[in-house]
């Protein structure tokens, strides 16, 4: 074993870029084979004519992309973005306090962290049906509100934008909480104590010490909520009564009932391109910011 260790270290020292390659190589290699290549196949599909019964036929056409740029689909895209943004904001408002509290809970840290993800080790469908049970007209919430006399008629909670947002926020909270926790957890109490000794009030302490430290986690959380939220569709179907379409539904339909694979593929790539552009812009801003600002 020591001999192997020597060998590896020797190799690492001889070629300085070997460190980068050994770290990045396996993961990136895996992704190139099992993600990039399939994706490029799909991209090829998006510029081929639609097969009569599904799939594609030989040929080249930009019809699928052209088809997308009409008001109805663009509206769906915009609405999806709006929903995803609102979901991200709410997740941030609720998730940050939780991450902060968990990071500061000393010996209960691990338990509280697990309690955040534990609900998600049950089936999504059963969870969602449980939410329906809570929110429907004859559901638990209405029953109790009626019993306690707060309302006289059942409230329409289910199949509203509210129920959809509640479901989305529910599903994405861990994606916000976990990254923020990860960057907050090292929160150096001595820094905070120093700030306190120097006379800073809690709000200032938070703004100038805690918040900047947690910023990487906040950004990561926002990206990990916003981006997948763009592709979500089941929640809006189950809790929104399938009365509206998100871009995720549209793509799903194209491969399923519409059997229009090129169009489904094209819609996906348009979405991906938009997100990729936004991420590149964000990364440029982040990298160009002076080091000390963080």
């Amino acid at each position: 074993m020591p001999l192997l260790r020597e060998r590896v270290l020797g190799w690492l020292h001889r070629r300085p870029e070997a460190q980068a390659w050994s770290l990045l190589g396996p993961g990136i290699g895996f992704l190139v084979v099992f993600f990039l290549i399939p994706l490029l196949i799909m991209f090829a599909y998006s510029v081929m004519p639609r097969g009569e019964y599904g799939g594609v036929e030989r040929g080249f056409t930009l019809e699928a992309y052209q088809r997308f740029f009409v008001p109805i689909y663009l509206t769906i895209l915009i609405r999806t973005f709006v929903v995803a943004i609102i979901c991200t904001v709410i997740c941030l408002a609720l998730g940050y306090p939780v991450a902060y509290a968990v990071a500061r809970s000393g010996r209960w840290k691990n338990l509280l962290l697990f309690l955040v993800v534990l609900p998600f080790w049950t089936s999504f469908l059963v969870r969602t049906f449980a939410m329906i049970f809570l929110m429907r007209d004859t559901g638990l919430i209405n029953t109790w509100l009626l019993k306690l006399g707060f309302i006289r008629e059942p409230l329409t909670i289910l199949y509203t934008p509210f129920s959809v947002m509640a479901g989305l926020v529910y599903g994405f909270l861990p994606f916000m909480i976990l990254p923020i926790y990860a960057s907050l957890e090292k929160l150096d109490n001595s820094l905070l104590e120093a700030a306190e000794v120097l006379g800073a009030r809690p709000a200032a302490r938070f703004r100038q010490v805690t918040l900047p430290l947690s910023l990487p986690g906040v950004v990561a959380g926002c990206l990990l909520v916003f981006i997948p939220a763009l592709g979500s569709f089941l929640t809006s179907d189950l809790l929104g009564g399938a009365k509206q379409l998100m871009i995720g539904n549209l793509v799903q339909n194209q491969f399923a009932s519409a059997r229009n694979w090129p169009f489904g593929s094209a819609a996906s790539f348009i979405l991906m391109a938009l997100v990729l552009a936004a991420v590149l812009v964000y990364l440029r801003i982040r990298d160009d910011a002076p080091e000390g600002a963080r």
């Binding site: 990045l24 399939p38 500061r104 962290l113 534990l118 059963v126 049970f133 990254p179 990487p216 990990l224």
Partner: protein, 259 residues
Amino acid sequence: MRRGLPRWLVALVAAVYVFLHLPILVLVVFSFNASKFSVEWTGFSLEWYRRLLERDDILHGLRASLIVGVAATLISTLLGTFIALGLARHKFRGRRVLEALLYVPIVTPEIVTGISLLILYVLLGFPLGIATITIAHIAFCISFVVVVVLARIEGMDESLEEASLILGADEITTFWKVTVPQLWPGILSGALLAFTMSFDDFVITSFVAGPGSSTLPLVVYSMVRRNIEPSINAISTLILVMTTLLIYVADRFGRERAR
């Protein structure tokens, strides 16, 4: 050491936990419901727990889900952590583009990932099964791990590692004894996210699963057409109980060792 957290914060956090666990409570209660429709409480019954023993499909599904989940989590966490370190610690041409490209698996609609991987498997002649599912899960989990661990690294102090190297430790020792412990909350968070996504994945799995390798979500989603029998509630409850016990034991064990 600061004294406790402000009361409004504790109240808000408690409310969020209640919000997260209220549907779970409903789920658990209905596992003891006599009716096969989880609509109203009609009486107490252990029927669904008993039924679990007969439902091979559910038990096999759970087994497949666990195998895939654990394997995919371990591998994607490993690969993802390495990628994050590589990105954060080394400057090279195209680094920003690479980092941006890592977000693509997160935004790609699941059905696109699923079908495209299936096409690849067919072309390569891979037989569909547990392995193909695991590979698919790793593919979409890696990016999540990378993002979470990167966030952790960004706030980390490199001086500790520099000190370790100056003091004579080699790269491998430094990695295990200095880097990993510092990264640990990021690695753990990434792993938890990866397992959570893998365990409940449906769309991608439905396309890359082969005969005999249906995972638990595949069984459950298929039941929607008729009725999701409370046996699913029962197995979910059992999973929750088992996991909570496991965490408790692991936590205790960890604390014993720390002493």
